[in-house]
Every structure is written in C-alpha cells, then in structure tokens.
Symmetry: C2
Subunit: 219 residues, 2 copies
C-alpha cells in the first residue's frame, strides 16, 4: 500500500520549496513596507506567517512518515535529514521577517530619518538572494551554488557591522533619532539572521549531496 518513495519525496521537496517561496515573499514584503513606508505589505507578512507555521508542522510530519514507512538509506536518508533541518531554518526565516515587519511598523509611526535606511535595503537584497540561491541549490543539487551562498555570509556580517556603526553615530549626534535608529539596528540584526539561516540551508544541501559536513569549517 506504500506509495512509491520517489513520488512522496518529490512532494516533500515541493512543499519545502513552497514554504521557502512564502518566506522569501515575507522578507520582500517586510522590506518593501519599510522602504516605501507602506502598511499594506506589512499586513501581508502577518497573513503569510500562519501558512508557514502550518507548513512547519506538516513538513516535520511528512519527514517522520517517510522515515517510518520507507526506511530510506544513503542519499535519500540524507535528503530527509536535510529537509528536517531546512524546514526549521525556513520557519525561523519567516519569524525574522515578522520581526522586521513589526519593527518597521513602529518606524512608520514616526517621521523618517534624514539619513534614511543606510545600507539596510542592500543587506535585504543580499539575504534574499542567499535564500533564493540556497533553495535553487537544493532543487538542482548544485554544490557550487550552495558554496557561493556560504561565501556571501561574510559580506552580510560586514554590512551589518557598518550599519551598526553608522546608526550608533547617528544616535550619539542627535538624541531625537535614538528610538528610530534602534529600530533599524534591530532590523539589520534580523536580516543578518536570515542570511545565517540561508547559509545553514546551503550547508545542509552540501551535506545532502556530498555526504560531507562542512559546518564549523570542518572540511
């Protein structure tokens, strides 16, 4: 009575990718709301969150059933291990998008800062690209693409460091900016965490394809 393993595995992958696309959209909407000072996109972030949370539970359940019913080995088993971990990273990415959206909503209620958003939109573009490519590397089992995602994480850390420095200077030079600058610092931190999770996804893809754990520079 068991359905063919490949079929069920394909379905799991598709649901994971769908969850990833929802998370990508949430980041996009949260940053759009921040940049355009628009509430509408921020509301959509909250609407996506419930779907992501449901998928989080559904995907763990699918993984458990695949393990229980099909007792997969080797590459198939590594795929499911990767799926369990990627599921958790995608859920956390969605959480961070919600945090960005909540911090952005507070900023919208106040006048814009003169120095605007500094390099935060650039950080967001980088993180979104890392997430997109990490998911593409999963579909294509493309180790080189996954490695390029891992390689981009340092750039994100540098951008965050420079955003922190600029925002702290701003707070020190004009105390009326403190609350808003702090909001942006928290958003920069949220985006950096998204890049970290995308890096985790890419590392899981590398492990899945090569059977080799490169985390913590173990290679």
């Amino acid at each position: 009575m068991h359905r063919h393993f490949e079929e069920v595995e394909k379905e799991l992958l598709n649901r994971l990718l769908y969850m990833g696309s929802l998370a990508e959209e949430m980041i996009h909407l949260a940053v759009e709301g921040l940049e355009k000072r628009a509430e509408e996109p921020l509301k959509k972030v909250a609407a996506n969150e419930e779907q992501v949370n449901n998928l989080h539970i559904e995907l763990d359940d699918r993984c458990l059933k695949l393990l229980a019913l099909h007792q997969p080995a080797a590459g198939d088993l590594r795929f499911i291990m990767a799926a369990i971990k990627i599921n958790s990273d995608l859920e956390r990415i969605a959480d961070q998008a919600v945090n960005i959206s909540e911090n952005a909503a507070v900023l919208l209620s106040q006048p814009p800062l003169q120095r605007k958003l500094l390099n935060i939109p650039r950080m967001a573009v980088l993180a979104q690209g890392m997430l997109k490519d990490s998911l593409d590397s999963l579909v294509k089992k493309d180790v080189n693409l996954a490695r390029s995602v891992v390689g981009r994480d340092d750039e994100e850390d540098k951008l965050k460091g420079s955003a922190f420095t600029d925002l702290m200077e701003l707070m020190q030079s004009d105390s009326s900016t403190i609350q808003r600058a702090l909001g942006l610092i928290l958003i920069a931190r949220n985006i950096e965490r998204i890049a970290d999770h995308a890096t985790n996804v890419a590392e899981d893809v590398i492990f899945m394809v090569l059977g080799k754990d490169i985390r913590h520079h173990a290679q």
Copy 2:
C-alpha cells in the same frame, strides 16, 4: 554486527546532555563575566564553543547512523527526530552565549553604567532554568516539566520588553550611555533567543513523548 539499539540510543542521549551542559556552562560564564566585570569567564566561553561545534557535527552523524542501521519506528523514531532538532537548538544556544560574551567584553572596556544591568541577570537566570528544565524533561520524558518551560517564555519576553524600555530611556536621558546601553539591549535579545531555543527543546520533548505537535499552538 549492529550494536543493540537501546545502547546506541542511550549513548546519543548522553552526548546530547553533555552538549547541553556545555551550553549551560557557556551562558553561566558569559553572564558571570558581565556581572563581575571579569575577563576570565568570557575566555572560557570561547574555549567551550569548539567542543559544542564538534558535538553538533558528531550528533547529527550519530542520528544519521541510527536511522540508517537500525531503522527505528514509533517512539524511537520520534526520539531521533527530537535529537536532530535539539542538537541544532543547543548549538544555537551556545552561539548566543558567545554573542553575549562578545558584547560583554566590549562593555568591560568601558566604565560601568550607574543603573547597572537592570533586569538582565534575572533574564539570564530564567533562561538558564528553562534550558536546564528542558533537558531534564528530555531525560525524564516529563511532559509537565516541558510544558512549564514553554509557559515561562512569555515572562522572558516581558522582561526583555521592560529592559528595552529602560535602556532606551537611559540612552535618551544621557547620550554618553548610548554605546553601553546598546550593548545591553543586544545581550537582552541574546538571552531572549536562548529562552526561545529552550522552548523549542521542550516542545520537541512533548512531541517525542506524546507524538503530538504543540508548536504554533497547534494543540
């Protein structure tokens, strides 16, 4: 040639608990360094990190081998699913302890704030208790203890909210405190994340014991 499943499973649990005890120690040391303004404990945090990272890799490998060689079912399978996820949460807790320690090191290079650390030590005690109890609930398969951990997360969020408010007021009233207050805000956020991860561990224990997913209030 396969060793008895229970024996290998027991070993996995013991290694997971050892990793948890290292992470607990890292939180303790990071906060001790912050409170006593002492560098020595902060250095020990960095020393523990490498061990935790090695365990992170080792434990995923143990889980994969258990799945491949023993093809466990039902409760045993749920235990391994839980172990995979708890492994990842413990690694992230250790990461957050490193972040606290790095932020504390910067604070140590500057004169102490008059208002000291506000409710941050209390936040740390709460998070450490949540981590300890989540691991105890794993050992004892104690659903009530796990539920009590989940229940404490709201208190941590409230404490963080009040720390944020106090620290923002401090920055606004005295701009010479901005950098230090920001350091404490980041530490409060790190501690809150530790409590979140401990909550994840507790939720995984509940799922492992009951076969019931209570995340995202699914119950």
